[in-house]
Symmetry: C2
Subunit: 217 residues, 2 copies
Amino acid sequence: MWCMENKEEKIGLIPCAEGGSTIDDWAADNTLFRHAVCQAKFAMQDTELIGILWHQGESDSCDGKYQTYYEKLQTMTAELRQELNAPEIPFILGGLGGFLGKSGLGANCTEYELINRELLRFAQEQKNSYFVTAEGLTPNPDGIHMDAASQRRWGVRYYEAFSKRKNVLSPLENEMELLDRCINVPYTKGEKMHLTMMDFISGRMTYEELCRKFENI
Amino acid sequence: MWCMENKEEKIGLIPCAEGGSTIDDWAADNTLFRHAVCQAKFAMQDTELIGILWHQGESDSCDGKYQTYYEKLQTMTAELRQELNAPEIPFILGGLGGFLGKSGLGANCTEYELINRELLRFAQEQKNSYFVTAEGLTPNPDGIHMDAASQRRWGVRYYEAFSKRKNVLSPLENEMELLDRCINVPYTKGEKMHLTMMDFISGRMTYEELCRKFENI
């Protein structure tokens, strides 16, 4: 979505997530926070940081943890913005999926709606913070992680919140159309070369076939 | 190999490699070097750096690049040791495979023996530096990357060089036996849980089966 509107520029993601982590795990002195700061600062040596994406809370959706969630998130984000000297870039908070609290690994997340309430309140009260609903999205068979198609739809919503700097409280009317425009495009030269190379290194293509293919890309 | 001799400790790797990179790409002001330093320094916040593993040179095995390879490697490693305050930890250099210069992506690496000569000379002349031969190891169908079985054998040789602080100039007599002792061990509890979880999230096991399996691990 970002690339479609910024054709002359490149974008990179700085992956810092850790599966199953709680808000306490993200406290500013802990490894996850320090790692995120370290990775971001390295990227900022020659690029511009333009946003922070947050999706977390499943591990805090039980045992009344929602009661202290807001305060912990507020402390952490304040320290993060200070460390990165980024007081104004958008901080986008993804809501938790309505499929939680029911089955598989998600069965224990019975208080996800209370966490969602805190995430939304955070976006409403804190500057440069925006909430993105997970309404209508569906999980993998594990009952906790969003399936790939839902992740893509959610990305469209995240971009809406990021680019328009507003909360996205319900699915976008045209999100499937936007998604379609975003993913149904011809492969770039680089993508074609990568796919061809994958065929070759997996043994599905000889070196001679690889050379011929590359000549025609 | 390290874990077998250090049962009470944990080890981590700090991956910094970049496929297809040249020795020039690794010059101290460039991204790859700065990234390696950044990642190592982060790890060193609460762990001890005990060695540096180097396997590179295919991209310099042509066009007479071997003539300046030693000097560039020497400059880079000196700066790396200084940045990391690590003047004495072993620097282990893997030689290039005898399968190079023949086919596929490795066809262009016609001067790999000249690079190997420089790598060995480096280990002989520079302090705390040790060479590991790739003799007898075999490539994937791409003609350039070592196959998985060879990577494991090579790991045994790397550990020999690391732990005995000596050059490994020919395959170890007992390397297959050492390898066997290293990899043919029962899964740990953590490994069993991981494998079971993979079955579950891939849809090959129900949540009820997962719970039963977990109880018996």
